[in-house]
Symmetry: C2
Subunit: 241 residues, 2 copies
Amino acid sequence: MSALLSRGEFEARLRAVGAERYHSLHPFHRLLHDGKLNKGQVQAWALNRYIYQARIPVKDAIIVSRLPTADLRRTWRVRLEDHDGNAPGEGGLERWLKLTDGLGLDRKVVASEAQALPATVFAADAYVHFVRDRTVLEAIASSLTEMFSPTIIAERVEGMLRGYDFVSKETLSYFNARMTQAPRDADFALNYCLEMASTRAEQDACIAALIFKCNVLWSMLDALHHAYVEPGHVPPGAFKP
Amino acid sequence: MSALLSRGEFEARLRAVGAERYHSLHPFHRLLHDGKLNKGQVQAWALNRYIYQARIPVKDAIIVSRLPTADLRRTWRVRLEDHDGNAPGEGGLERWLKLTDGLGLDRKVVASEAQALPATVFAADAYVHFVRDRTVLEAIASSLTEMFSPTIIAERVEGMLRGYDFVSKETLSYFNARMTQAPRDADFALNYCLEMASTRAEQDACIAALIFKCNVLWSMLDALHHAYVEPGHVPPGAFKP
């Protein structure tokens, strides 16, 4: 049996997962941020990423349903408000559709999910199943990729505005909101894990949950890269730019 | 509302799904069957396909648990015997490990699933979740890829024996058993769907279930192709030949 990690060591191990496996390191993200993709490839990214966005409030509702106190549920519920809004036309999912609108995609096609890559759907659904089937601690730890997102978002907005004339500040409004939401959410989730993981096995389970989540994000970019950067690999039925 | 399909039309639509989307059409399979892969690439295929093999008896047990009569459960239970055997060292999963043994892979590493591509795990798990969460009719329809498997298996065994000196008849023994099991299972499942789908909506749900299952198999080969045929795309933590 390995010894319990100190709070500082445990946090360092979690941060190391991001340094090694967060999707900011994926070649597709570099192409996206460096303005190296064509409009069809950026469309494919936005259409597929919609699947992930659509699963976020679902997985957050599952987490709310599994939290034991009103305090915890109320705290986590803020994420539902962020993504689903408080009225029609509001919220992060709606802002994602503004991005797909801005890219010239048909909103009905995007929301139908019919043209997404199956691998994207399997990965995003794996995240939903994970937060339902694993411990609450693992479910919360799997959200910790948000610790790493402010950097990638800043790079992405800056790089996309510079690299693509078909992208505007308005169409990227989703990311502005995330710049403040993600650090607030990540702080809460990190402190929860640091407090509640009281055995080394629980600490290791948190680290594994964060690796799992990095794999979800990474595999979505692998699927995009294979289908839309390598020539001739769009699977049957998927979006053709 | 579309009209109910005749039995013949319904069967033809199901077979058309295979003709358009079965993974026999995937470029990775052509490379595999034509002897165009190196040993490391064949190892990666066998190690990843193990994940799918390991989920088969799990999804079959879920289907058994959802069938309403002893007759139906007994019929479907044969699949559990085929895959898990009646004693240690028997069954299809064990025969798959003979294949990975024959390819020089460490059985413990294969069975740990630790070096599989995350996309493989997400796809195989999606199949398990599908048979748990959808109707029994859809769960059974999703097994109908077995209608198309005898042809691909015959090609695969013949092509691999000819193309690779590191593969023997003994290591491919898994596929011999499948040549008789798959048609028997597919006949039963096809008749079940033809009988039990009594509305057009149910027929369409069967067709969609079969498309879903083709997507599972296809996306596993996409992931293999991206990681092991395109250079430099093995994701963090996955098998390196």
